[in-house]
Amino acid sequence: MNWDSAMQAQQDETRNMPDGSLEDAIGVLQRLRDVMRGQVIGRDDVIELVIIALIADGHVLLEDFPGSGKTTLAKALGDAIGDDREIEHFIAPFRRIQFTPDLLPSDVTGVPVFDSASNAFHFRHGPIFAHVVLADEINRTSPKVQAAMLEAMGEKQVTVDNVTYPLDELFFVIATQNPLDLVGTYPLPVPQLDRFLFKISMEHIDRKSELEVLETWQSRRDGARGDPAVTRDELLASRAAIDRGVAIAEVVKTTLVDISRRLRADERVLQGNSTRSLVLMLPALQAAAALRGRNFVSAEDIELLLPRVLGHRIELAPGVADLNRILHDNMREPMERLAGSTLD
């Protein structure tokens, strides 16, 4: 299977996808959210962001500490997505890769193996061929592996021995890194961080949720795994429907541009966000609107996503640490103009 035919097949597939309505898409998203909320307790905000990134065709970087439930989260997402197709059996719903300094690129992508029966090399798919990939502690592996991983994320393809293998259309990476314990790590530089749509800092869940986790952990462990809440095709159809059906008003775009121009002019900011980050934000805003049952992008979507999308794309001046304050200062006036515009 070579690249051209694979791409062709994928395009055909996308074209033949049933035209879901926006209402259906909203239903799919909310169904997925409800199922995940049942599995992951006290992380409603992160669940929403993950779903938004999935629909917006982006990836997320979780910055958290061990044992905060990121595997549970990723696994719940993988389990909630079913795949009706028979053919591509090598695509798993969920894979987890623990990144270590001695990991090799082929450990991630897969490797051609010589088959003595057919007297030829066959490609053995690596763990990256999955719908949902949990890339644990991505900053702990060598830049070479990081590069392979990031190529896959950016291009949705894997190149091994000069042969390119396409990944599934629904390919979603949840990478994590520990904000502390940085000894022996290879921190991701800003351009590589750019591959992630969101960078989400997780905090400890609240007391009530933590208690609930302890109360229900047995039932969740022993509980029979139900049917997947949504199918891969449904998600792809939703993606298309949301792209078409959720309106982005002119004034919303103006607001985004105004905020980033202000950020770039801010003397506390060394390097502002790119134009690409704004382009990437648009589908995310649409997904956020759909998840809240709206068919248009509104100010609260910007409030929710802008810090997550721009936070890791802005380089602060030396000695400045207060990113939230900088964002707040620069958002206030454009947001006020956006709010004011609706009454004009």
Binding site: V252, R294, N295, F296, R332, A339, T342, L343
Partner: protein, 708 residues
Amino acid sequence: MTQLAEFQSADRQHLPAALARAAIIAGSYWLLSLSLTVATGSFAAVAGCIAACVLTGLPERENPLERLRTPVILIAAALLAITGMIAGSLITGSSPVASLFGPVAAFHLAEGVKWLCFSFALTGAVRVLAVRSSAGGIIEVLLVATGFVIILSAHRNGMINRPFFLGDFALSRGLDPATILLVLGCGAVLCLSALLLVEENRRRLPYHFALFGLLCLSLIGYVQTFGLPTPQMTDDLGLTGNSAQRRENPFHDGENNTENKQAPVAIVVFRDDYEPDGGAYYFRESAYSQWNGYMLDFTSLPDMDRDLIAAPGAPARETVSSEGRRLVSATIGTLVPHRSPFGLDAPIAFENAPNPNNLRFKRTWDAHSLVPEFDLNEMLGRPVGDPDWSAEVRQEYLRLPDDPRYGELAREIIGGLRPQYADDPFARAWAVKNYLDRNGIYSLANEHAYAEDPAASFLFGDLTGYCMHFAFASTYMLRSLGIPARVGIGYSVPAANRAGGSSLLIQAIHGHAWPEIYFEGYGWVIVDPAPQRTLVDMTTDPQNELQQLLGDMLRGEAAFEEFLQEQAGFTINWQLVLGALPALLAALVLAGYAVKIYRLWIPAAAGLAAQHRLSYRAALDRLAAVGVRRRFGESREAFAHRASATAPALETLTAWHLAHALGERPPSLDIEDWNAARRRISGEIRGNTGSGKRILAILNPFSWLRAK
């Protein structure tokens, strides 16, 4: 987003604003330091101010002050200011510095160091306070205002030509100094407004400006209603100002400073040409003639001092003999209040004259005087006293303190007279005058006032005093010699001050007292001692421009009249304004109600297309009236969520509104849906707010201004 919402900080300041503020504060330092130091000091003050503005204006991460607590900064600033003062005095005090650079340079250096440290410390402290606390900005505004107030404070007693550097500037160019002062006042208002404008917190700005405008308006209203405060001026004789009350001790210690000596007191316009022989114009206002047990005082006897006239228009009780005298008329206008009118020696009648400008002149009158044209030598051989005087009056004019030294000294003085003059009153008087001329020292720094008899303390002491001492001492000596004498008080102006014009400016320093003797047939004749030695610089700038301007104003016929007429064209009818103000306010309130009612009513009348805007706005109006308002930068959804405690239905209405405003396919609603939503929200507001708050909401005519 909760983290973001925590920051209610103001926007960052921008460079032009910081520059404008630095310039304004530096300008006020310049004004402030002008009257207190030399040019070097002023420059240093400006430099220190700008340096402090730059330091405090540095961005957060580079700012060394950022890490310090406010009290630490304030204490450091105080220490710096004190250090600067000490360093300044060390520099002036140390001889090496003075010998190295010369004393003038050392003084300049000291002033520079002092003002640099002072302004740097003060500006730094005030800026830090202004940045860190909301009340700190007020100190800054006050500081700038002080700069202007100090400049204008010299003007406070209604002295139109003050401060001199402004007054002279204006008068030498033929301008009314009031214009310059008005320009300065406008400058102050503009600077303060600009300072308020560059304040970072834009939400507080409208309130500041409203208050500021109100202050300005009330100031104008006050001046228009009650007029300017009455100038309070005292000269060294106590002739003016408060002296209308019970007379105080005419002798003063140390209160006679020369600070106000140039203050204009009155203006005289001569109707007849007159040049005095003695080199000075004498204006008599009153006289101390009756012994009251302590000293000479205004007379209480109806038959004494019959030549003095209490008020304009009062009948002259005694005709001054016109022998050797000529009638001269003059118009006099006072700039500060006087207890009685005065005129050229000797006044015979005062007539009220029309006041051409009652903002400038307290009182104007025509004074008709019989001025002496005789030579003093003609007094030789003249008998003194009036044969018409009763014995009692004559006795009063001869009373003096029960102190034999007066008589002894007087006899000693006249002992040197040639025998043929030994008995002549005028020769004796002249001898007394000569004695004081030669031996007396004119000084304002004397210490006789609290002696039992200040005149004795002067005459038998150091012979150092001012006109009052000379006048009393010679009057007592003359009386001891049997010559009827009294102390005349009024003004004595050098004839040269007239400078050939017809007007004469009387300044505070011209207040004078002198001894005078009654010669039969001639009346009261001034025999004024003139000490040859003086410790006081009695010369003044005659201020000829002011003299001419005031003269023109008093004549009421000059270009100034036209100027005033011109001004009159622009005056505002304040009665009308004050009357119209309530009407205006009422109209404003009514307009507010009209808009309020219109905005609540219009959704019911509008079509479906506009409902999403008008219905939502009406709901916002209702919420704003009960105090639920969207914050700056808050999204509509977040506000609706916050407001759901008062009106849960707002969330639905907000969703509909936004779907119409931002979406492409809004939900299909009919007019009834909108009406129902509005009704529901008003019901919810009614249910969730107290009745007091609701009544206030209904009464407030401008509640809709806060809805956004």
